[in-house]
């Protein structure tokens, strides 16, 4: 009975100043949607970096001019190093096969190439990743390693890519969090303003409630519910939008461009988070308005 009264009053207010309500709802929607997209990007970059890390630690590319003897000699040298856990030789042909595999559906691009420009390489896995730099350094001046003069770009360590990706992830995380925080503040202020308007619209009711002895919480509840509703409706919208985007675009990306290794976010937790976030924004907004504008 009480609950129905509160809900009724809250819905009444929402409908009565629907323009402000819609503005607040849309802000919540956008902020929660950006939060979802941010989480999506973050999760994928995390996957990508951990993939890179486990995939490969050192890659040594060999000049096309090297003889088979020189190549196998280098292989023996590597195997003899105490830091090495395992080593894997990738021939020119295998390198091409791998490339083909990762570009499934677009092989015609590769057919246009004359011959096979890919160098053979050794993939080296270490017992302890912290020794990457020391081990990699041993190949910098090796004549059969495909270094351009003055550089050592024939030796690639997984760490470099990982560090770069991690750095980018870090920036995206900070930027995204900042953006979401700004939007969250805007949502709270807009919701608070909506509630302020409905406090004003219902000042007669509030006055009468006080006079006849309604408890303070009884007076507050409809306004709090209005705020929470606003937040929840916005969050639901964000959820729907996010799921649509995920279905239409992300699945497409995953299917069409498998080499990106994109993945969907664990949906249940994200959606739960969005809903709770929306409700929280709503209650903070109405709390703010009640503190400032509802004198009891």
């Amino acid at each position: 009975m009480k609950f129905r009264f509160f809900v009724g009053e809250a819905v009444d207010s929402l409908v009565r100043n629907w323009v402000m309500s819609v503005a607040a709802i849309v802000t919540v929607l956008v902020s929660m949607f950006v939060l979802g997209i941010g989480a999506f990007i973050f999760v994928n970059l995390q996957n990508a970096t951990s993939g890179v890390r486990s995939k490969l630690e050192i890659e040594v590319f060999i000049r096309n001019t090297a003889s088979p003897d020189q190549i196998s000699q280098l292989g023996d040298q590597i195997k003899a190093m105490p830091e090495v856990r395992s080593v894997n030789f990738v021939s020119k042909e295998e390198a091409m096969n791998r490339l083909r595999e990762s570009m499934k559906g677009h092989e015609d691009v590769l057919d246009a190439l004359s011959g096979n420009p890919l160098p053979p390489s050794y993939e080296i896995y270490l017992k302890d990743p912290s020794q990457i730099d020391g081990v990699a350094g041993r190949f910098y001046n090796n004549p059969i390693v495909d270094n351009d003069t003055g550089t050592h770009n024939g030796v690639r360590t997984g760490g470099e890519t990982t560090d770069r990706v991690l750095q980018v992830t870090h920036y995206i995380l900070i930027g995204g969090a900042g953006f979401v925080a700004l939007l969250a503040v805007a949502s709270i202020l807009l919701i608070s303003n909506t509630i302020r308007l409905s406090i004003f619209a219902r000042r007669r009711e509030v006055e009468i409630m006080r006079l006849v002895g309604a408890t303070n919480w009884f007076i507050r509840w409809p306004f709090i519910m209005e705020g929470v509703f606003t937040g929840l409706v916005g969050a639901t919208g964000a959820m729907v939008l996010f799921l649509l985007v995920q279905n239409f675009f992300v699945d497409k990306i995953i299917n069409e461009m498998p080499f990106l290794g994109a993945d969907t976010v664990p949906t249940f937790w994200l959606l739960l988070f969005i809903i709770i976030g929306g409700g929280l924004l709503g209650s903070l907004g109405s709390g703010l308005a009640l503190r400032r504008f509802l004198k009891i």
Binding site: M1, K2, F5, M209, R210, L211, V212, A214, T215, F218
Partner: protein, 225 residues
């Protein structure tokens, strides 16, 4: 029922609402509070409702000291005081019955007792036929009856009326006064702030006269003067 002991109320900045007022009103009494605008009548009533605290002195209503009352207890204190105002304070978008029911609902009464009490009290004030009308469709006198019905529906032990006839013509005022008189006869204490000289003189009840925040006269069966 009501006891003011040396009560003063000073509003910022230095505007005196009440000055050292000591008054006692017994249970079941009917008392008029008279005086010019700004003489302190409204301050008196708002102090009773604990809308704010006195600057000095102590106030006891129905045996409870308001100064020692916790904030959370204030709503329950107000449920024991029915209020009627000059401007009726009705909700314009709700019917007569809903207006009365509203005050019962917001104090958490069960729907069943609301459905029983509302028609009963509206019959009592003579509006049994107009329960589903909106306040706008009623005359001023009828609107004030609705507001009296709302104030009395819980049978509070104290009914406070702040200029209840201020917006009504003399004939209609008589009707409202009769209603308040009948309520008083049920044992309810009635305190009425008013300007209405004729009414006060006709009723011959206790008159407490305020001027510039002080009680200048307090007599049984008094006149407005």
């Amino acid at each position: 029922m009501i006891r003011f002991e040396n009560v003063s109320k000073v509003y910022d900045p230095n505007i005196v609402g009440l000055k050292d007022v000591s008054v006692q009103i017994e249970r079941g009494e009917f008392a008029f509070l008279v005086g010019h605008s700004g003489s302190g009548k409204s301050t008196f009533i708002r102090l009773l409702l604990k809308e704010f605290e006195p600057t000095k002195g102590s106030i006891t209503v129905a045996g409870r000291n308001l100064g020692r009352m916790r904030r959370a207890a204030v709503p329950h204190h107000r449920r024991n005081i029915g209020c009627v105002f000059q401007d009726f304070k009705l909700l314009p978008n709700r019917s007569v019955a809903e207006n009365v029911a509203y005050s019962l609902r917001v104090t958490g009464q069960p729907p069943r007792s609301i459905r029983r009490k509302v028609p009963e009290i509206l019959q009592l004030v003579g509006l049994g036929e107009k329960m589903s009308n909106l306040p706008d469709e009623l005359s001023a006198g009828e609107q004030q009856r609705v507001s009296v019905a709302r104030a009395f529906v819980n049978h509070p032990s104290l009914l406070v009326a702040d200029e209840p006839t201020g917006n009504l013509d003399p004939d209609t005022s008589v009707g409202i006064m009769q209603l308040l008189y009948r309520i008083n006869r049920t044992g309810t204490t009635v305190l009425m702030a008013t300007h209405d000289r004729e009414m006060v003189d006709k009723m011959r009840k206790r008159v407490i006269a305020l001027e510039e925040g002080s009680v200048i006269r307090d007599e049984d069966k008094g006149l407005y003067r």
